[in-house]
Amino acid sequence: MKTEASIGGQACRPILKVERLEKRYTRQSLSGTREELVALRGIEFSILPGTTLAVVGESGSGKSTLALCLACLEQPTSGRIWFEGRDISQLAESGRREIRPQIQLVFQDPANSLNPRWDVLEILSEPFVLQKRTTIKGMKQRAVSLLERVGLSSGIVARLPQELSGGQRQRLAIARALALEPKLLILDEALSALDCSVQAQIANLLMDLQDSLGMTYLFVTHDLAMAAHLADEIAVMNCGRIVERGPAEEVLRVPKHESTRELLAAVPRIPRTPNSVTG
């Protein structure tokens, strides 16, 4: 288990630190009444570089809002977010644009986050074009190397997203997220829409990438089993608050909060007997 001390001499400073984060949404309806929705309340945690933090909770617990705030796609109402020692919570748009390549987001449904009219090459080149960082020649080379990194064959550069399988699309989304070499990858239910066996493949890919590139992951999910498998630390959210947080094993073996216990109880389990492994 990775602890602060055991990360072989690297900086033990957290790559991401969140302090008293709050996010409120207000809606003014035409009849004059104001509606306030508190999506996040008093969120505090930090992530060490090269590790995985899983944020688990039911829908409505605020975990997706958290992902958006951390990716600089939503502005928090109050509180601070420190990324590599820099406060990114109240940045102007130009500052946020600078930070975004370093924090990338992978969504649940690649069908919605990949432009259906672009082929694979265009999708993978988009981040570079947006950051104005490449020539046309370099684009195809970079695309191919990205594809290889996520285990896709270079032969698919001309295909459209709908011609790929669910697993391939999600790999493509990950490849695009890796294009600008981010330090932090936020995965918002990135495995939930996939078949079981494909989830295993993508989970393995993520672990490999973490080993080879030293990626840090924030893994938002309601699947506690997968979170348990991938995470070093687990934070449990309920109604916008973090109700329990700690090293993965502790949280799973000795859950302190009721929400954690409920989530644990709700995990569907396959009966595992010695036979099932060797068959």
């Binding site: 309806s29 035409l30 009849s31 004059g32 009444t33 509606e35």
Partner: protein
């Protein structure tokens, strides 16, 4: 409720704005009614000058606008030089004739477009649908003018229908049922021309909206429940496809007055169209303004009706506009 009041206020603002702009543009346009008179050697210049003073042609613009507004409030809407009477009664009578034509045509057109569009959507891509598409494309290509003229030719050649106009010469001496019959006969051709020119657009939109819904998962689920076809199409599909169609309906109300202009002129139907045309040519200022304003009012009303219908038909819109 607040939503609707908001829309009503918005509509009022629009009408007032249009009235100002229309006033501005028509008075700024070169020439006025009295230019004709001035050129006429038989009319003494003093008469012309007196008339001009009487109609305040030479007063500054805001003053004229204010006195016109005053006249509107009193239900007169200014004065027509050509007809020598307040504008309102003339406009309203002509508007009535136009509405008679336009409403009949709209109802008929929708009455044909809805079933035909639905029927086409159910058979999307197959031969019957393609036939309908070709037919509507052909209709779309034929200019309204050609349609109207074509009908006139039919009237002349066959003698089955009166050639233009709204009533026969002996209208007043007919019995009640005779009057109805006479009116109906006069209406057939102009209404037919209007319906045929409106159909292609309507059919295409109905077809597109319904086809999209027929593909939707909830419709498949309803079929899975064994819901019979009639209910599927008219209660499920149509209701779900209603949004764009309601907007289209509002738009067709909006163009009720202006859309029939061409047909009215060609077929000598005494509606707003011919009135507006001759008033513009004669620079009969207040009639023109009144006519434009009436058209705007209809457009705005059409949108407003569409808004109300949308609010009633789609609970999601209701939710957006009131506190949860």
């Amino acid at each position: 409720m607040r939503y609707l009041l908001g829309r009503a206020a918005h509509a009022l603002f629009l009408v007032v704005g249009v009235s100002i702009l229309t006033f501005l543009f028509t008075t700024l346009a070169p020439g006025n009614y009295f230019d004709e008179m001035r050129m006429n050697p038989q009319i003494a210049p003093e008469t012309v000058a007196a008339l001009r003073a009487q109609y305040q042609i030479d007063r500054p613009l805001p003053v004229r606008y204010a006195s016109w507004l005053n006249s509107v409030v009193h239900g007169q809407m200014g004065y027509s030089f050509a007809y020598n009477s307040p504008v309102a009664p003339i406009l309203l009578m002509r508007a009535r004739n136009t509405l008679l034509l336009a409403i009949t045509a709209t109802l008929l057109a929708w009455g044909i477009a809805l079933p035909l569009g639905i029927w086409s959507a159910e058979r999307l891509g197959r031969l019957p649908d393609r036939l309908v598409s070709w037919a509507t494309a052909a209709l779309l290509v034929i200019p309204d003018l050609a349609l109207a003229l074509g009908f006139l030719v039919i009237a002349v050649r066959t003698g089955w229908f009166p050639v233009g106009g709204m009533s026969s010469l002996d209208f007043d001496s007919l019995t009640l049922s005779g009057k109805f019959r006479d009116l109906a006969l006069h209406m057939v051709l102009p209404v037919a021309a209007l319906v045929l020119s409106a159909l292609p657009l309507l059919i295409r939109h109905v077809r597109a909206a319904v086809a999209e819904v027929l593909d939707a998962p909830f419709l498949l689920a309803a079929r899975g429940h064994g819901i019979p076809r009639r209910v599927l199409v008219y209660r499920y599909a149509l209701r779900a496809a209603a949004n764009p169609l309601i907007s289209l309906f509002g738009f067709s109300i909006g163009t009720l007055l202006s859309g029939s202009l061409l047909v009215e002129v060609v077929m000598s139907w005494p509606g707003l169209g011919p009135l507006l045309l001759e008033s513009i040519l004669a620079r009969d200022l207040y009639v023109v303004i009144g006519g434009v304003l009436l058209s705007t009012l209809f457009l705005v009303t059409g949108n407003f009706i569409a808004d109300i219908l949308l609010y009633w038909a789609d609970p999601r819109i209701r939710r957006e506009s009131t506190a949860a």
